[in-house]
C-alpha cells in the first residue's frame, strides 16, 4: 500500500515537473514603453529605407553571418513593405515618404490593365495575383491618409475593381487572374489574400463612402467568419489572420453581426495563445526542443497587427469589451519581445554589412524584408496602446 502512496506522489511530481518544463514554463515579457516601441518601428523603417535598391525595390533577404544578400523577390511582399512605410507616414512620420514613393513607382511601373480595372503584376513571371494588388491598394490608401493627395484616387478605384473581378458569390476571392485566358483561375483561393482584399475594401469604404465598397466587404466578412476555415480544411482553426482582424477593426462601427464578433473573439484567442507560447521560448537549445523555435519577426509582427485591430474593435463594441485589457497585455508582451530582439546599431557594428543589420530582425541569421514590414506595422500601432496601459 505504501508503494502505491509513493507511486501516487511520484506521478504528481513528474506531472508537475513536466508541466513546468512545457505548458507551464514562465511567460517572459520584456518591459517596454510606447516610445521604445515607436523607436523600434522607426528603426525598422530605417532598415527598409537604407536597403532600398535603385529601382525602388528592396533587399529581399540577407544573411547577417555571411554578409550576403539572398537572391529572390516577392511582389506581394514588396507591396506589403511599401504599405508599412505608408502606415508610418499616416501616423505622422512623413520622413519615409520618399522611400515609400520609390516603392510605389516600382509598382506603378508593373501595372496590368484590363477593361476598367488594373492589377499589380509580378515582373518576374507576369502573374497577376490578388495579394499583390490588395497590398498595393492598401499602400495607396495609407498614402492618401498620410498626405490627402488625391492623385491616385482613380488608380485606387481601378485596383479595387480588379479585386472584385476575383470575388466569388460566397465572398471568397480567387487567387489569380489568367492573362492568357482573360479570366480568373477557377478553384484556386489563397489563405492570405482573401483577408488582404477584405481589409482594403473596408478601407475603400472609409475613403469613398457611398460608392458601395462596403457591400463586397460584408460578403467577405461573412465568408471569413463562417466558411473560410472549413473550406481551407484547417486542422486547428481559426487561421491567425491579421488581415481579417484589420478589416474587422475597420468595421468596428459598421454594426457587426454576432457571428463576426464570435470570429473576432476566436482570432483574439488565437493571437493571445501564440504570444503566450512565444513568451515561453528563448534562444537556448532546450527551449527549442521543448517549445519549438522562436517565431520570426514577420510572424510576431502579424500577431501584434491583428491584436491591435481587435483591440480597437474591443474599445468600440461592447461584445468585445471584456477582451480589451487582455489584448493590451498581450500586445505589450509581444512588442517587448520584438524590441528586445531587434538588432541595434551596437549589435550591427560587428556584422559584415552593418547597414543590412541595424534595425532588422534576424532568425537563424536571416532577415527577409517582411520581417521589418510586419514588426514595423505591429510596433507602430502597439505604441499608443502600451502608453495608455502604462498611464493607468
Amino acid at each position: 500500500m505504501r508503494r502505491g502512496l509513493f507511486l501516487s506522489i511520484g506521478v504528481w511530481l513528474v506531472a508537475m515537473a513536466a508541466l513546468r518544463l512545457t505548458v507551464a514554463a514562465p511567460n517572459v515579457c520584456p518591459p517596454v514603453t510606447g516610445d521604445q516601441a515607436l523607436m523600434a518601428a522607426r528603426a525598422g523603417a530605417a532598415w527598409i529605407e537604407n536597403n532600398q535598391l535603385a529601382d525602388g525595390g528592396y533587399v529581399y533577404e540577407h544573411n547577417v553571418e555571411s554578409g550576403e544578400d539572398v537572391p529572390g523577390y516577392n511582389v506581394v511582399r514588396h507591396a506589403g513593405v511599401t504599405m508599412s512605410l505608408y502606415q508610418l507616414a499616416a501616423e505622422g512620420d512623413l520622413s519615409v515618404m520618399p522611400a515609400a514613393d520609390r516603392g510605389l513607382e516600382w509598382m506603378l511601373d508593373n501595372l496590368y490593365e484590363h477593361d476598367d480595372w488594373v492589377a499589380l503584376e509580378d515582373p518576374a513571371d507576369r502573374s497577376v495575383r490578388l495579394g499583390s494588388s490588395s497590398l498595393m491598394l492598401a499602400s495607396l490608401i495609407h498614402r492618401r491618409l498620410a498626405t490627402d493627395d488625391t492623385q491616385y484616387d482613380e488608380t485606387m478605384k481601378q485596383l479595387a475593381r480588379g479585386l472584385l473581378v476575383l470575388q466569388l458569390e460566397d465572398g471568397a476571392f480567387l487567387n489569380r487572374w489568367d492573362r492568357n485566358a482573360q479570366q480568373p483561375v477557377a478553384g484556386e483561393r489563397s489563405l492570405y489574400a482573401t483577408g488582404e482584399a477584405f481589409w482594403t475594401l473596408t478601407l475603400m469604404h472609409r475613403l469613398f463612402p457611398g460608392e458601395g465598397w462596403d457591400e463586397p466587404a460584408w460578403k467577405t466578412a461573412d465568408y471569413l467568419a463562417l466558411e473560410r476555415d472549413d473550406y481551407e480544411e484547417l486542422d486547428f482553426p481559426p487561421w491567425a489572420d491579421q488581415w481579417a482582424s484589420y478589416g474587422l477593426g475597420e468595421m468596428a462601427d459598421w454594426g457587426l453581426e454576432d457571428h463576426h464578433i464570435t470570429y473576432a473573439r476566436s482570432l483574439a484567442g488565437r493571437f493571445g495563445l501564440l504570444v503566450r507560447a512565444e513568451s515561453q521560448r528563448d534562444f537556448g537549445g532546450w527551449s527549442k526542443r521543448l517549445h519549438g523555435p522562436t517565431a520570426r519577426a514577420a510572424g510576431m509582427g502579424t500577431w501584434v497587427e491583428g491584436m491591435q485591430a481587435l483591440h480597437h474593435l474591443a474599445t468600440v463594441d461592447p461584445r468585445m469589451a471584456d477582451l480589451e485589457d487582455d489584448l493590451a497585455e498581450r500586445i505589450e508582451c509581444a512588442a517587448g519581445m520584438l524590441v528586445e530582439r531587434q538588432w541595434t546599431a551596437e549589435d550591427a557594428a560587428g556584422a559584415p554589412v552593418p547597414i543590412r543589420a541595424e534595425g532588422g530582425w534576424f532568425d537563424e541569421g536571416i532577415t527577409r524584408m517582411d520581417d521589418q514590414q510586419h514588426a514595423l506595422s505591429g510596433l507602430l500601432y502597439a505604441a499608443p496602446i502600451i502608453d495608455a496601459r502604462n498611464a493607468e
Partner: protein, 181 residues
C-alpha cells in the same frame, strides 16, 4: 449551467467525496474531527485563493497559461481516481487527529483541489473559487464521517466515475485556456 455551479462541480469532483469515503471505509472520522478537518481545508483553500495571483507571479505564468496547466493536472487527478479510487491512501490514519491527517491532508486538501483553487481564483473570482471549495470540502468531510459498511463498493465505483467525469471537464478547461487571450 452557471459559472459558479460549473466551478463547484469541478471542485467536488476534484476533492472527490466518494474517494474520501472509500479511503476511510474501514474507519469513521468522528464528527468533531471531520469539522476540524473541514475547517483546516477551508483555511488552506482560503489562503490559496487569496494568494493565487501572487503564486502565479512567483511562477511567472499568466492566468491563462495556469488554466491549461490546471486542466492538465485535474486530468491527472481524475486519471488517478479512475485507476485506484484512493486505494493508496487507505493505510493512512492518525488515532489522535484523524481530522487533520488523513482527512484534511491529503484527502480534502489534495493536488487537484489545490490547482483548482489557484486557477479558478486567478481566472474567475476568489469568492466563487472559495465558495466552490467550501462546498466540496463540507460534502467530502461529511462523506469521511459516514460508516460505509458494505456500501464501500458503491463508493469505490462512484470515486472512479467521478474521476472519469473530472477528466472530461478538465479537457474542457484545457480547451478554454488554449482559446483564451
Amino acid at each position: 449551467m452557471s459559472d459558479f455551479l460549473r466551478i463547484a462541480l469541478i471542485f467536488v469532483l476534484a476533492v472527490n467525496p466518494a474517494l474520501v469515503a472509500n479511503v476511510l471505509r474501514d474507519r469513521v472520522v468522528p464528527l468533531g474531527q471531520a469539522g476540524l478537518g473541514a475547517a483546516i481545508a477551508v483555511a488552506v483553500y482560503l489562503l490559496l485563493a487569496v494568494g493565487a495571483d501572487g503564486i502565479l507571479e512567483v511562477l511567472a505564468i499568466e492566468p491563462e497559461t495556469a488554466q491549461v496547466a490546471a486542466g492538465t493536472l485535474l486530468a491527472v487527478g481524475g486519471g488517478l481516481a479512475i485507476a485506484s479510487a484512493g486505494r493508496e491512501f487507505r493505510d493512512l490514519w492518525s488515532d489522535t487527529w484523524p481530522g487533520a491527517f488523513p482527512l484534511a491532508a491529503p484527502l480534502l486538501v489534495c493536488p487537484p483541489g489545490v490547482v483548482a483553487a489557484i486557477s479558478f481564483s486567478a481566472n474567475e473570482s476568489i469568492g466563487m473559487s472559495l465558495g466552490a471549495a467550501a462546498i466540496a470540502v463540507v460534502v467530502s468531510a461529511a462523506a469521511g464521517a459516514v460508516a460505509l459498511g458494505r456500501y464501500w463498493i458503491a463508493a469505490d465505483a462512484l470515486a472512479r466515475i467521478s474521476g472519469g467525469v473530472l477528466v472530461l471537464l478538465a479537457a474542457g478547461i484545457i480547451v478554454d485556456g488554449v482559446k483564451s487571450v
